[in-house]
Symmetry: C2
Subunit: 697 residues, 2 copies
């Protein structure tokens, strides 16, 4: 690790929240402490990140932050050399190293700097130049050669001793061309630390360089007929500002409170989500994040099996995150958090506006009209969105953590960006493993499988998960108990052990999962306080059992795993993911063990794999319209009744109000009619004298 | 039919579009023609509605509306008496009756007037008064008795000879109380035409009248702690107006064109949806509507099996539709269409603002950042929404037909309103058939199953449906063809005959359906031009085979049926739904026949049943937060490439622009930061000199 050893004094006066990401100062301090003990390191910094407080200590502190001992502030530090890495923990409060473990046979994440340097390496490699020549690209055009460097996945020839990238090759005739229309058919393998090409995979049958561009930049669109001219602006204004408050990184909005963390790997981490239920602060989730992803590609031809990116564990959803722009990525009134990481030199770098927090109108929250007299209530909803967007080479993942006024929490991911592409020879058959989305361009089938890590605290730390399937009642049609055959019910199956919890989605029963506190019974329904996971985009892992992806992505074999909570069990494909062989499978399969551990009324973690299978089409090219995936966490038997009843209605008329021609009218006065004067009409009988019987503030 | 016979002259100069709903004048004219021939009718008018033009005639006219013969304007007229109905067709162009068929043993829809009169009938019935007395309600309090009148479903005792309603009974202590907290345990049966109670179903074990209210009106919320005080307004303004045009009822927006119809039964009907693909007007769907619904309840105890409302076929999604209010049901700049129906007297009545058309921002349409230089494109999306909301007694259905700029069509339904409730005795067990959502209030399990009728014209009238399942490739792990086990593909199964098309959803394969034009091959992908149906909320019909609901709701037995197009096959549970026994099953099961008809490259109709199964919870009470269901129709292999590329980006910087510090910046300038001055940041390297290299208009 280059640079001088500095002695920083840890700025104790700052008192960061224990969940806060490390500040630039803390990153510098952690590095300084390591340098002080170990001197000039020969290695690259790979990560300097918050080592999250032990849960037990943190829970104790959260009960009384002014009096209980503050959890120790710790940094985890990873440095990496040619054939080793050090996994360290630094105690920032006491300025000492708690752990400095040398590991071999493991590879930590590939960093942006690693990726960004690869193009230079391949452009000057003689064998790459030779291969380009075979495709008709002369040596003087090597500046037109580009590559998307991916981790190698796993290559049996090299194992995990050398730190490798595979360079997915492209060409640009012009600097502004989209390179994905010009894939090259060979694949150099680059030694990240030695900074050299160590092999090139060349297919037996060659595919010529494509000649036809498909671009999306303004000059290309102008040449193709120009932009649509009939779109008029929609402005979103919040003249009185936002309805949320931010204290440090703790956000309060509509009875929700939560801490917005962020790390280089998972990106956004939401901690200690609670709901203020009429003065009673009720815990919901201790921690919530996207913990891992895998994107297996479905072409079995060599060497495409290596394309199965673990975008979070191999590259980092934080490291790859975008700087967001006001009025662009999000509209309205916005609060941003920056993200701070260490670069390879161990110096702090900042990504501005990494996390966006904003509100949106969400349409009708609830409505009812009495058909007798047209008395009505209409309440419009609002949502709060905590979002980030990260770019994984070709793809963009837009991640939206959405809070609703009815206490529902939603995770929406929009997939956009550009398809990974490979070359096709004229007349070549895709064999069904991909689609020719553009002449000579094969976009392979793939899945995006995300692992949502939910650490629940539904009214307390001891929770239990039940599988819920819709089921027909017993008794055949004509029987006394089910004469007309219409009996049906919610069949609930408790997951008592880890083994029982390992389960798949079942669309035929509209399967959901209840995360329950079995110690809290609803006074009316007599059912357990719970949050229900409603997730409908749950494809099974298509790579086969025993194969490379199946072995490496153990978490993705099933939709649900529930484990007993343990500190540091954060990364379901293992802590260091690149170049793992999957023998043994790391992360979740290790923690599952023999599956006999009790998860009944314990501190548990639920791992949910969801996503989609993508069979590309030309409409996805050259840049994909965003495709959304969404799941919900809905309170069930948790609140006494609809918790959003106290949201100010837009319009209310009661039966007695209708008689007296009185209504409460808080309609948005900015709305208007499109074309003509037309009387706005409530569906109420007769004229309304608007009367407020209560005050808004 | 009461009232004087009038002789109207049909206003030919009006030239309504052949898909337009009947105007008030046309309704009056149709009735006048019938009265002229049949004199004063003794019967009630049940429906006067557009008899839609024959498809062949309509398609011919659409090719050249100025020169081809305009399809004849026809009204369908239904009148109903005590034991008969007349089903008629009136030729409005020539002022004559084309059909006047007397039918017996069938019951047409229950009308709002029928429902609205029922409360008066039960309040004065001695046996109802007696039953109320048993529950402690004195005769002088009968004005506090309410009922939600439902069609009877089917009751073996009465069959279909008498026109019946079942009165689901409630009580209100105060006029403004929500009655659903005070269900009464008995159920009067009302003869609609005789206007009298003919029976009362009384349970063996009585349930006392509830005493605890759960209200949501302002005074109740004020008493319960008041409204949230921290919500600040979000305004949506469109200073330059809307981006759509309306010509009569034909809407044009972002290359889409379609006609917005509306009828008393289905509500919104979208006709002749086309897409202007760079000057080529390409047909997508000839007709699209919600054709039927069934809401079976899962409690097998007598007489709850009768609760399985066919909201469209028994009551009418048009008849029950709400008048929408500006800045309330929808925000922004709105265009409304009114709806005109005939009342029981045959006179036209208008529901103002029955259909809302408006635009919304829809977040990121597509985005990509090049990790090399942070050159980026961000384009925000827009959607156009055609919506209506209808109130089916307790429930509200908010129906949104949504058009996206990437040529996707989405149907979203939000369920809100109030749960149907029944009385519970203290200590009574729900037996799992329902949930005690409030003390003494049992909300029964139920399903909402909607039937989407899609009449496609994907690049022409001859289309074919394929089932698409994700599937593992052949070859075991280690085999030459699938060494690493990662092969997967889209398995497509053609539905050649009606029988083959009758199919269910399969979540384990992420099943979708492609509606293809097998005569149109994509020049790049070599696959058929298609629209893909992506629908993930597809519960199976839980009432059992052979039971009452299964028999009556034939369409709901499977997720998909494809039939060959035939004029007048519009209503999949039959044309006249109330009191059908299901023996034989009407509608779709009749049209399926022996299932041998070819649907391969034919003019076809796809019937898709989707929805959700609802196991109530206290959070749904006393009024339900809106629960959304959504499905997509996405173009696949239809366009040459992403059809939204010509939407003006919000921000673009090209690699060459980044070098020259130039970018195109069309960010919304209304957006601002929430709390402090913070420099907006694009994620571009260095300062940007904003330059437009093209013009917006």
């Amino acid at each position: 690790m280059p640079g001088e050893s500095n002695t920083h004094i840890y700025p104790v006066q700052a008192h960061p929240h224990p969940f806060d990401p490390l500040s630039a100062t803390e990153i510098e301090y952690a590095i300084a402490i390591i340098r002080k003990q170990h001197g000039q390191l020969r290695y690259s910094c790979n990560a300097v990140s918050l080592s999250e407080p032990k849960k037990a200590e943190m829970l104790a502190w959260l009960t009384a932050p002014d009096t209980k001992p503050r959890p120790r502030r710790e940094a985890e530090v990873v440095v990496v050399g040619v054939d080793l890495l050090y996994d360290g923990i630094v105690d920032l409060d006491n300025g000492k190293i708690l752990k400095w473990e040398k590991l071999q046979g493991l590879q930590p994440m590939i960093m942006m700097e690693d990726l960004q340097g690869t193009e230079k390496i391949i452009r000057t490699d003689p064998k790459v130049i030779e291969q380009c020549g075979i495709l008709g690209i002369p040596p003087e055009d090597m500046h037109k050669i580009y590559c998307d460097p991916w981790t190698i996945g796993y290559d049996e020839r090299y194992g995990n001793k050398v730190r490798l990238q595979q360079a997915l090759m492209y060409y640009r005739q012009s600097l502004d061309d989209s390179q994905y229309s010009f894939p090259l058919d060979f694949c150099p393998i680059v030694d990240t630390e030695a900074k050299k090409v160590i092999a090139i995979d060349v297919p037996k049958v060659r595919r010529p360089l494509n000649t036809i561009a498909s671009n999306y930049n303004p000059k290309d669109i102008e040449a193709d007929g120009g932009y649509r001219k009939d779109l008029k602006p929609i402005n979103i204004t919040q003249p009185e500002g936002v309805s949320f408050t931010v204290d440090g990184r703790v956000v309060n909005w509509q009875n929700f409170s939560f801490h917005v963390g962020f790390n280089h790997r998972e990106g956004i981490v939401l901690n200690n989500i609670t709901y203020n239920d009429k003065g009673n602060i009720r815990p919901l989730f201790y921690r919530m994040s996207l913990a891992e992803m895998v994107v297996p590609y479905g072409n079995p031809e060599y060497p495409h099996h290596r394309k199965h990116a673990f975008d979070l564990g191999e590259y980092g959803g934080g490291y790859m995150t975008n700087s967001l722009a006001l009025g662009c990525d999000c509209k309205g009134v916005i609060h941003y958090f920056d993200a701070v990481f260490a670069n390879k030199a161990g110096a702090p770098i900042t990504i501005k506006n990494a996390v966006c927090i904003h509100e949106e109108d969400s349409g009708i929250l609830f409505k009812h009209t009495d058909f007798r007299d047209d008395s009505a209530i209409i309440t419009r909803g609002r949502k709060l969105i905590v979002s980030q967007i990260f770019t994984a080479a070709n793809y963009e993942y837009c991640v939206y953590w959405i809070f609703h006024q009815d206490a529902t929490i939603q995770l929406e991911i929009r997939l956009t960006g550009i398809l990974n592409t490979y070359a096709m020879a004229p007349g070549e058959d895709t064999n069904g493993w991909g689609t020719e989305v553009h002449p000579g361009v094969n976009a392979h089938n793939h899945q995006h499988l995300f692992c949502l890590r939910l650490d629940p605290q539904i009214d307390g730390q001891k929770n239990t998960v039940f599988q819920v399937d819709s089921a027909c009642g017993p008794g055949e049609v004509g029987s006394a108990e089910n004469k007309h055959g219409n009996a049906f019910y919610a069949q609930k199956t408790k997951y008592s052990t880890v083994k029982e919890s390992i389960s798949d989605y079942d669309g035929s029963t509209s399967r959901t999962w209840d995360i329950c506190n079995t110690n809290k019974i609803h006074p009316y329904s007599k059912k357990y306080a719970s949050y229900k996971l409603v997730s409908r985009e749950v494809p099974r892992l298509l790579p086969k059992e025993g194969g490379l992806v199946w072995k490496r992505a153990g978490f993705a074999r099933h939709a649900i795993h529930v484990t007993k909570y343990a500190d540091n069990q954060l990364h379901p494909a293992g802590r260091h993911v690149p170049q793992t062989s999957g023998e043994p499978s790391l992360g979740l399969p290790e923690w599952v063990g023999d599956g006999t551990e009790s998860i009944d009324n314990e501190d548990i973690v639920l791992w949910h794999t969801f996503g989609l299978t993508h069979f590309p089409a030309p409409e996805d090219y050259p840049i994909m319209p965003a495709e959304p995936i969404s799941l919900l966490l809905r309170p069930r038997h948790f609140f006494l009744r609809n918790p959003a009843l106290d949201v100010m209605p837009t319009y209310v008329s009661t039966p007695s109000g209708v008689k007296e021609k009185m209504a409460i009218d808080k309609r948005d006065k900015e709305s208007r009619l499109a074309f003509e004067e037309q009387k706005a009409y409530y569906g109420t009988k007769g004229e309304i004298n608007k009367v407020e019987t209560f005050t808004n503030k």
